[in-house]
Symmetry: none
Subunit: 204 residues, 4 copies
């Protein structure tokens, strides 16, 4: 008992000087600011260190690579996904989510997402972490809606939720990454309805 208490009481603090939150924030902030203006490729650890008034080893102590840092800086600033509005028509709800996603990925933020996924092609760790921290967050509302729809029988119970999400979002990221066509208004208007219909929602 006592030991459990004392163990709990232990503030889990390693000895030695604790890491400087100020340095961490300075690094992340500088990186985020650079990402606004520059392609990720042209951002360098040297440059971040200099601009953040920080030693290079301090950066390497906490991030494995430039890309891990960039991702962190991006995700820290990311606005969390808003939960789905409960009392809305499911079809309409999904369509709205997709429209929001497309609009969100226009502009610099979409470019950054594309660049990170691009960098991730040569570093699986990046991709894995980006998936859990970005995609899982961003897709959570749609996932919840789909699972709810399966529960109430509006969607075939055998439809794999992951597959459904791929059908809904795949075309968007395909355009974002291959850039053969823009994420324009026509796309925003016409895509969501088509892909939501592929889920074959029965009238509830």
């Amino acid at each position: 008992m006592t030991s459990e208490y004392s163990e709990n009481a232990r503030p889990l603090r390693r000895p030695g000087r604790p890491r400087s939150e100020q340095a961490r924030l300075s690094i992340l902030g500088t990186t985020a600011k650079m990402m606004e203006d520059l392609p990720i490729r042209s951002i360098t650890i040297d440059g971040i260190a200099k601009a953040a008034n920080v030693g290079k080893p301090t950066i390497y102590r906490w991030w494995d690579s430039k890309c891990a840092l960039v991702m962190d800086a991006f995700l820290e600033r990311m606005t969390p996904a808003s939960p789905p509005k409960p009392d809305t028509d499911i079809t309409q709800n999904l369509v709205n989510l997709l429209k929001g996603t497309i609009e969100h990925l226009r502009g610099r933020e979409g470019e950054i997402v594309a660049e990170i996924i691009g960098e991730g092609q040569s570093d699986p760790h990046i991709l894995e972490e980006f998936h859990t921290r970005f995609f899982c967050q961003i897709l959570k509302p749609a996932r919840q809606i789909i699972e709810r729809a399966k529960e109430i029988g509006m969607i075939d119970q055998n439809l794999d939720t992951n597959l459904a999400l791929d059908i809904l979002y795949g075309p968007i990221y395909y355009r974002l990454l291959v850039r053969h066509q823009p994420l324009d208004d026509h796309f925003t208007q016409s895509l969501p309805g088509r892909v939501v219909s592929a889920l074959q929602l029965s009238a509830s």
Copy 2:
């Protein structure tokens, strides 16, 4: 007179030593061999030059960047898309094309495609050329089928062919690039039917 003739006869040949086809092939071959084993990121111009017994400027004379060369080496070896079989059910034909694509993108070749698209995120030229030389080729059969279907009224005339292709192929490249889920048999079995149905083919 003679000069006019001779000028016409001149096969647009610049004076000086003509470029060595042998060098070109050696460069492309070496690059292709390296791509089999190594991630594109770790391939270097220096390395190619050394392995191909070729001077670095010889490479730069004919390709702008490592990535352009890699793409060339990849596309040169790519098997051309087979045309769609004419007298088959359109739905089935599209499903088969998608299944073939998924199977094709498993393995090293899919990895290379992903890596090239990844590199392309920081170099729009790459992406543009990859689109015209890879995607347009690879998607040509599906495009023809869709346009044929529109002609004969099986598909809504107002459906943008590009959008249709995105709906069909988007989920595949989404999985290829984000790697959240594998391109496995379950995906091969279940995806194509779903997305083809999103095109709402009416019974002819």
Copy 3:
């Protein structure tokens, strides 16, 4: 009350935690051990701190630089110079001292002396302290003999004692530091007689 007593009882004790003699010894011992095996250049404060289980600031609190510490560690272990045997022939006594010095400087200890003098070239403090703590000690017997010889008229009174010591010991340290020739037996046999004779001792 009690506090007053105890305060009085405190024997010249500065407030705060007293410096740890254990830490000092651990640092010196670790350094000495490292010097046995490694060239001084490759010894680092970081390394000493880690091996001695000591914080870096604790080292810096007591020694100005790596080199000061190394010198301390070396001198602490140095065997003190034995005094000259009084009733011996002066010439022979000097020759014996020189022979002893040469033999002493063979092996690791001579290497360390050379390394310290080497480091001293870029740090006058080191050299100065090494002179007073090493050379003055090591040369004391020879200095005493020479001064005694001057007193009794065996050596020209005008011969500067420092100059005499340079003539005697210069060639040895010259070889030690420039390493153009080894401190071998031939050197041990032939040098001392020659340089002692340069002092022109008259038969007493």
Copy 4:
């Protein structure tokens, strides 16, 4: 016959772009200039590269280490030893050489020699090359005189020439390196006679 000719004719030129003499001179010159003002320890390869308008790898291509470069820069500018005047009294000639050496080692040049020998304590290659390129040159005249003296019987044939040189020059470098006493006028006046006498030159 012909082959011999053609072999001779071969300009012994390696393929590839020849190294830039301009870069070499810029590096050596910059280094030499830095050595005038700064202690060797505080000179950095980065600094040289920047000041010489040269890439760091260019320096590393041709010199193993900062110290090798510094030595090269020093030796390239060193005035070659003047040959001994032939028809002079041998004793006087040696004394003059020693006086010249002492005066030469006063000032910055002597400091540099000391610093190089100091650095050499942690790098035997440096010391070895410095010996062959500096000491052998600088001592050549004295060596010739001593050998000539041995030939004509003025010096004991059994006296090792290297030992003789150590006796003559050892005290000078001892003072230069240990710095316990300055290389002052008194030293210049009194040392040479003493050490030359230790060679026991008989009247020719």
